[in-house]
């Protein structure tokens, strides 16, 4: 819009198209800082979206719990607090290792970064295995939601309050919440593996660790959602 543009444009000429700063700098960004900031902001905005996505389920939970508190109390006794508690500890720990992976990446320690990501992935897999065991037990006990809700008394937790007829609603919400959370865990494992491979290739450095950072952000959200799910579902 003015002659100032000429000077600025000349300064930009040498990052024209092709030779354009470090090779990890995408063509449409001017500086590494701009690229990092954009990625980080984009991820935070995406996480806001994730929260709203889960919020519908939390509202449904709140509505049904306020309507049928006894049913929620009785039905939640069918969930295994030990398994749920173990998963909570494991996820919290994995969030710590994810944060340590970012820290190591920032310091340029490629090996440590890889190890921390690997521990995070192992924790995530442990979480899924426990979830699988829990789900199997629910299926055996006939606690699938909706028209598949046919509780078998012999498989239910001994000594728990009797299940009211409408307990299917609780398990509907339980399976939707933990199921969607589980899908997020699976996606998390996928992106963690992707970052682990890129780290092994040596693509990250003190200057460029954006993917590690934003994947860790995502992983913290997965952890955070579970931190709410565990007490709401298991510890009624």
């Amino acid at each position: 819009m003015s002659s100032e543009a000429t000077a600025a444009a000349d300064a930009h000429d040498d990052h024209g198209h092709g030779h354009h700063g470090p090779k990890w700098l995408a063509h449409h960004f001017d500086t590494p800082a701009q690229q990092f900031d954009a990625a980080k902001l984009g991820m935070w905005v995406f996480l806001a979206q994730e929260l709203l996505f889960f919020s519908g389920l939390f509202v449904a939970y709140g509505v049904y719990r306020s309507w049928y508190p006894e049913m929620f109390f009785a039905a939640s006794h069918q969930l295994d607090k030990i398994m749920g508690g173990a998963n909570t500890v494991v996820l919290l720990f994995s969030s710590f290792t994810a944060a340590m992976a970012v820290r190591s990446a920032q310091l340029g320690k490629q090996k440590a970064t890889g190890n921390f990501i690997l521990i995070t992935i192992v924790c995530a897999c442990f979480f899924l295995v426990v979830k699988y065991l829990e789900y199997t037990h629910k299926i055996h006990a006939g606690l699938l939601p909706g028209r598949y809700f046919h509780p078998h008394a012999e498989h239910l937790v001994a000594g728990a309050p009797a299940l009211p007829a409408n307990a299917g609603s609780f398990f509907g919400i339980y399976f939707m919440m933990t199921g969607i959370h589980g899908i997020h865990v699976i996606i998390g494992i996928g992106v963690l593996i992707w970052v682990w491979i890129r780290n092994n290739r040596g693509e990250f450095s003190k200057e460029y660790f954006t993917p590690v950072d934003i994947v860790a952000l995502y992983w913290h959200l997965v952890d955070l959602v579970w931190i709410y799910l565990f007490p709401l579902l298991y510890l009624v």
């Binding site: 000429t6 024209g16 995408a26 909706g146 028209r147 509907g172």
Partner: protein, 582 residues
């Protein structure tokens, strides 16, 4: 003007970076492109096809209602026709139309940047949209849906195949289609927010953004915060139909009103996803064709954000007769009236912009003026519906149908088509026939008003919406409305022909056919792949006509109907400007 000289930047790949973004040929060059302009054009083509499809459904609905009783098809088919009209127009056309279509093309150009922040995500959003559209088409081939576009439960969630009492049509593919397309909308929103925050050209401060950019920014916020709620709602609905979950169906212990709360928590803000970008387009067009800075620039920008915020607080007004506490209805009614404030701020500022502006009534301006006029009617009739006592009578009548069509067609579609006219020369490099464009505009404007004024009248007299048959006293209004729909359809047909003729043998467009001072008109037409030959630096606002040089404003500037009218330059002033900027 040095910002846009033709000195090429240093480059080391084969392609000339200053070649037009349309230069590369071949289908694959489009399907794997990361260029926001090409992605935007593919979006435009997709939404145009959706618009034609939805328009055919609308014409069929109107034709069926031409006479009482059966005219063309039976009641079940009629239910499917109006449902598909709604679903296609809302999810496939209007939501992506301006943001993902025009916005994708123009936003980075208006920001003076090479691309959106996440080009791959941008392409992914288009593929997700297509993937969702496939589900929608599958549902249609399977017989479509008869639930209305709102998928109200328990009708939509109770499957007769499993002993339910609801709709036997192909609901699950259609709700999944809307679910999937929601993610396309979310990704576009994420992309635009990061782009506006982080990718602005040097000198392009927040106060220098175009009002279109402001509108897209406000829209993106709504897309991110509202769409996921629809996603989870439709997922719950799908699972309820599939598994009998018992969240929304009272027979299974669920609550249908909860569904309506969830649904409208998205779908009311979605109204602003539809209208706010249109408002942005109109703000830009009014400024250009009045040749002045919009009056109350910051007020218009802030009112976009105000609408985004208020949009989240008024969903309850869709449920006034569905069973809410009196307190809740009163609060929602009061909040609904607040929406009139930012809307009024916009309309008054637009009108004030026209006052003493140097107005030229070219086709984009005709659409923008139509928007102001029709949106005002649509907005004011919204107040009738926000009023509790009046709403009890008008709820679910044709008055509501006419009201939201005045906002969505009179508003968004006018804005969309106006924006298409406005930016068409920039991104296609071709001019269109102004005479044909004006005929098309005239037919659409007349046809639209004939169609929907009749609906206002019959609605206020008690004609319920979505009815297959009606009493004799409504016949005349239905017939007028149907005739109006034919004029409307003809108008859009003329526009389609006009745009296709322009593509085939339109005259090459000059750099700045409208004489606008905004940044996008300073780059070559059509722009190079990276939008500008040299990275622009802004030393003035985009509406600062008093600071723009004659070269920036008048190069290639011509009135298509009156050649030579504005072609001249002022040599003395030009020399002075060159002296200043040297």
């Amino acid at each position: 003007m040095a910002a846009i000289t033709t000195t090429p930047g240093a480059h080391h790949d084969d392609a000339d970076p200053n070649a037009s973004f349309l230069e590369k040929k071949g289908l694959m060059s489009w399907l794997v492109t990361l260029d926001h302009k090409r992605i935007g054009i593919m979006y435009l083509i997709s939404v145009t096809i959706a618009f034609l499809l939805g328009g055919i459904f609308a014409l069929l609905v109107r034709a069926e209602l031409f006479t009482r009783g059966q005219t063309l098809f039976d009641a079940d088919t009629y239910n499917k026709m109006f449902s598909l009209h709604g679903v296609v127009m809302v999810f496939l056309f209007i939501i992506p139309s301006i943001p993902a279509g025009l916005g994708n093309i123009m936003l980075p150009v208006q920001l003076g940047t090479k691309d959106v922040a996440f080009p791959r995500l941008n392409l992914l959003s288009l593929y997700i949209y297509w993937f969702g559209a496939v589900f929608g088409l599958y549902s249609m081939i399977n017989g479509g849906v008869d639930t209305g576009w709102t998928f109200y439960t328990p009708y939509a969630s109770s499957d007769p195949a499993h002993g339910g009492v609801g709709s036997a049509t192909s609901v699950i593919p259609m709700t999944l289609a809307a679910f999937i397309m929601g993610f396309s909308s979310i990704l576009t929103g994420v992309n635009f927010i990061a782009t506006v925050h982080k990718m602005r050209a040097p000198g392009l401060t927040w106060r220098r953004l175009t009002l279109f950019t402001w509108a897209l920014y406000a829209t993106s916020i709504i897309q991110i915060l509202a769409t996921p709620v629809l996603a989870i709602t439709l997922l719950l609905l799908t699972m309820e139909r599939f598994l009998g979950l018992g969240i929304f169906d009272p027979r299974l212990g669920g609550d249908p009103v909860l569904y309506q709360h969830f649904f409208w928590f998205y779908s009311h803000p979605a109204v602003y996803i539809m209208i706010v970008p249109g408002m942005g387009v109109v703000s830009d067009i009014l400024a250009t064709f009045s040749r002045r800075e919009p009056v109350g620039y910051m007020a218009i920008a802030a009112s976009s954000l105000g609408l985004a915020l208020l949009g989240f607080l008024v969903w309850g007004h869709h449920l006034f007769v569905a069973g809410m506490s009196e307190w809740a209805t009163m609060v929602f009614s009061a909040l609904t009236f607040l929406v009139a404030i930012p809307s009024g701020v916009k309309v008054f500022n637009w009108v004030a912009t026209l006052y003493k502006g140097s107005i030229s009534l070219q086709s984009p301006m005709l659409w923008a003026l139509s928007f102001v006029f029709l949106f005002t009617i649509g907005g004011l009739t919204g107040l009738f519906l926000g009023m509790l006592a009046v709403d009890v009578h008008l709820h679910d009548t044709y008055f509501v149908v006419a009201h939201f069509h005045y906002v969505m067609v009179g508003g968004t579609v006018m804005g969309f088509v106006g924006g298409l006219h406005y930016w068409w020369p920039k991104f296609t490099g071709k001019m269109y026939e102004e005479g044909l464009a004006r005929i098309g505009w005239f037919l659409v404007f007349i046809g639209f008003n004939v169609t929907f004024i009749a609906q206002f009248i019959m609605g206020s007299r008690g004609m319920p919406r979505r009815y297959y048959d009606y009493l004799p006293q409504y016949e005349i209004f239905h017939q007028v409305s149907t005739i109006g729909s034919w004029i409307l359809g003809l108008g859009f047909l003329v526009l389609l022909v006009m745009f296709i003729r322009s593509l085939m043998n339109g005259k090459p467009a000059p750099r700045n056919p409208w004489g606008s001072a905004a940044l996008e008109w300073l780059t070559p037409t059509p722009p190079p792949t990276f939008n500008f030959v040299k990275d622009p630096v802004l030393t003035r606002g985009q509406y600062d006509y008093q600071l723009a040089t004659d070269d920036e404003l008048y190069e290639g500037f011509d009135d298509p109907l009156f050649p030579g009218l504005r072609g001249g330059k002022a040599p003395a002033k030009k020399a002075a400007a060159e002296g200043d900027h040297g």
